[in-house]
Subunit: 148 residues, 2 copies
């Protein structure tokens, strides 16, 4: 099935990257406002300016310092049923984050958009954890005038 994949290398300790990906404060710092239960089996709702959440993720796996995995259970119809996985490892020089937003049913135009958009958030994650600026919503990098 079609997957979105990305890789960034981050000059920050693996536990610091994991903390950002596994806590509501960290997720808000690099992606967007999160509410709910961030433990395995819990659900996190993510907000992009609307009163209703734009996406709801069930926490499928938390392997400390190594993996965060979500299953999308609410949000855009194209997202429901997909999985989002953040895998971390130490390359010896930096923390490598391998990202996969997998199991899309079809490689629709919205998937192309989300791929580019995830890149912006992950590059912002790298920047923020290295002492620069994060690029979380609503200060996210714009990639289209008509699609958010």
């Amino acid at each position: 099935m079609p997957d979105i994949r990305h890789r960034v290398g981050i000059a920050a300790p693996q536990h610091r990257v994991y903390e950002t990906l596994s806590t509501k404060d960290g997720l808000a710092e690099f992606w967007t406002k999160a509410e709910g239960d961030p433990e395995v089996g819990g659900k996190l709702s993510f907000f992009f300016g609307d009163p209703a959440p734009s996406a709801v993720m069930e926490i499928a796996e938390l392997s400390p310092n190594e993996r965060v995995q979500w299953r999308c259970v609410g949000g855009p119809p194209e997202w429901v049923g997909t999985t989002v996985t953040f895998d971390l490892k130490d390359s010896g020089e930096e923390t490598v984050l391998l990202f996969t937003h997998g199991d899309w049913r079809e490689p629709v135009e919205f998937m192309h958009h989300c791929s580019t958009k995830w890149a912006t958030f992950l590059i912002g994650l790298r920047s923020g954890l290295e002492g620069g600026a994060f690029t979380a919503f609503p200060d996210d990098t714009k990639i289209s005038g008509s699609w958010r």
Copy 2:
């Protein structure tokens, strides 16, 4: 087969985006230095700081203002045999560029890296054509300390 996909919306005429993607000057402006024959059946070599080209693309299709497609015939082993396609359309509000670097044999870590890296060049293409800065090599956006 695994594919890299991206989408950007650009506030520039479709023919201007096509010109950037189909000429050596345009490619140098947003990606990197290109040498060779940019016509269908010709080959373009792309340079990233080394005397030898890092990638060689055969021009598979040029549909004016609508599509540029390459077949990779030299460069990283993982790239050889893959195709790179830039599809353009007018959304009514902007020029939409759908990008596909398709037909990877395996979703290797290098593919994750290239996906994020293509995003940076396409976001730079958008920026440059809208009057901001391009982010071509060697002024490209860094996404890892250890991988270029």
